[in-house]
Subunit: 323 residues, 2 copies
């Protein structure tokens, strides 16, 4: 079944004739790729289903972008450079326009990171996209969820909560006075920026790393559990974008979006305090906020405190996928 | 989203603690794999959607088996050894039983071929399985669809048409007097045997190769088109299993199943006539029928002739996915 039907179209619209590491691309029973000698391969897969992970009516190009972005985010969390990707696309009807839209959006993001679309499968059925991504990372350099140690600082990139606000705007549960705020937050939902350069730069710097897809509290919880430690987070320290501050002036509501909202695709990581200056340099170089939000402790579990040091009740339910 | 929820279960049921080439398996943001030095990576993906690729009510374990089988068949068609696989499973409800059934079936086939399940994603939505497989093949040894030359013999493994008869039996469009025939044909539909060892053995022997998933006529047509040649096939030469002969005594009907039926997952390949003795040896060694069904000609297109040399009208529609 592979590469039949619509994927034939790709051969006519394919981008660079030769892409690094691609011996044979789309059009045979499998793609042939040349791994870099001495590197480990990082492999992941993520599926987006209509109604569960995206709203009906989302532009095709945004779907393609996002389906790849969530995978590049997983590779970034391992400190891996992304290299190749495959797309399994299920469409209700044979729609060349939909197929081309999805592929165009996917390739737009792929081009930014030097990733080649090397294969795929199109099938008839309820709308969903399953993207698989392959990256490379030197042995022993990979970032893991396990590795955080008591005393380490806990950091997060970007502005968690923006994407959840974008979803609430799209669903009419929030309103923005400024159109530019609405577009910015909606863009964070529909076209997330995977933190590829950050992940690679954190090799040898972070003690543990995870990508934030299901809500900061839940994903940080996974990292703490795998590391066998706990953490204390200060609500005052959580970063909030100017757009989010304007659209959600209520602090408690913003806190819920930042901790339990989903679809951020930021990286959450831990570093030894002595390395925080290097992290600050990195933040400037990447022009990406990297905010210290708390610290790792030996006692297991995640505890959140407000500005006065009082514990904040925390639902670890995380991202509930529109439920 | 990767590896959340049910995939946590896998950590408790995972098979061999260490699998060759797996540095980090299920449970982090991505798997880490160690490619074999000097080998190319072969990558493919295939999706099975309920109602399109399998009948509602198909046992969970059979779905897992088949979703991997169709991918191993693609790798076999490239002459690649399968090594690693990921599973993206979309289920209507959170059903640990369904999840475990699918994983059990997938792993049963994986174990036969030394393949490791290294990652996955479970999502809520209409039932579908998207499996991605990675294999390895030495540079320049890979089999391609392009490469068939006029004068080459055209061969097919096994018994094309059995799986299509199995589908007709399952749908009540055919009836089998013997229960053993029904089970055998149904088994060919639900638990296809990817021709992994054959594919590897055909390195350096076959001039072109493709796997037969959408019907022999259609897939052979792809190979001929990519090779820039044509072929003449003799209906008398097409192999038919004893079970198929009993269940479908009508020759014309059997011909349709063999040429336009789908889901065979056999290999169709071409070899220079001087190498047919080696193919016969291989057939004995693998205990797998490898039947010469015709020959490659310079004139493009696929032509089928009956025992008297008369042309047979051929619908190249191929496998219509239950339509």
């Amino acid at each position: 079944m592979a590469y039949a039907g619509e994927f034939g179209l790709i051969r006519r619209i394919r981008g660079p004739a030769t892409q690094r590491g691609v011996v044979l691309g789309i059009g045979d029973d499998a793609a042939l790729l040349r791994p870099t000698r001495g590197m480990l391969l990082a492999a992941c897969v993520d599926t987006l289903v209509e109604g569960t992970h995206f709203l009906p009516g989302t532009p095709w190009a945004d779907l393609g972008w996002k389906a790849l972005a969530v995978n590049l985010s997983d590779l970034a969390a391992m400190g891996a450079w992304p290299r190749w990707t495959t797309l399994a696309l299920t469409l209700p009807r044979g729609e060349p326009r939909a197929f081309l839209g999805v592929v165009t959006g996917l390739r737009r993001l792929a081009a930014r990171h030097g990733v080649a679309l090397v294969g795929g499968d199109t099938t008839r059925g309820p709308l969903s996209l399953s993207v698989q991504a392959l990256g490379e990372v030197p042995p022993r350099a990979a970032l893991r969820r396990a590795g955080a140690r008591p005393g380490d600082a806990v950091l997060v990139s970007g502005f968690p909560g923006d994407a959840a606000a974008g979803l609430a705007l799209a669903q009419g549960r929030l309103h923005a006075a400024r159109g530019s705020d609405a577009r910015r937050l909606r863009g964070r939902l529909d076209r997330p920026q995977p933190r590829v350069a950050l992940g690679v730069a954190l090799r040898g710097l972070a003690s543990a790393c995870i990508d934030v897809s299901d809500g900061l509290a839940q994903d940080l919880g996974h990292m703490l559990r795998d590391s066998g430690v706990g953490a204390e987070i200060e609500t005052q320290a959580l970063p909030a974008s100017p757009a989010l501050r304007r659209v959600v002036p209520d602090v408690a509501q913003r806190l819920r979006l930042a901790l339990a909202g989903g679809d951020d695709y930021e990286l959450c990581f831990t570093v030894e305090p002595s390395r925080l200056a290097r992290v600050a340099d990195l933040s400037r170089r990447l022009r990406l906020p990297l905010t210290c939000i708390g610290s790792v402790v030996a006692r297991r579990g995640l505890r959140v405190r407000d500005g006065a040091g009082r514990p904040v009740a925390l639902s670890q339910a995380g991202f509930d996928h529109f439920a």
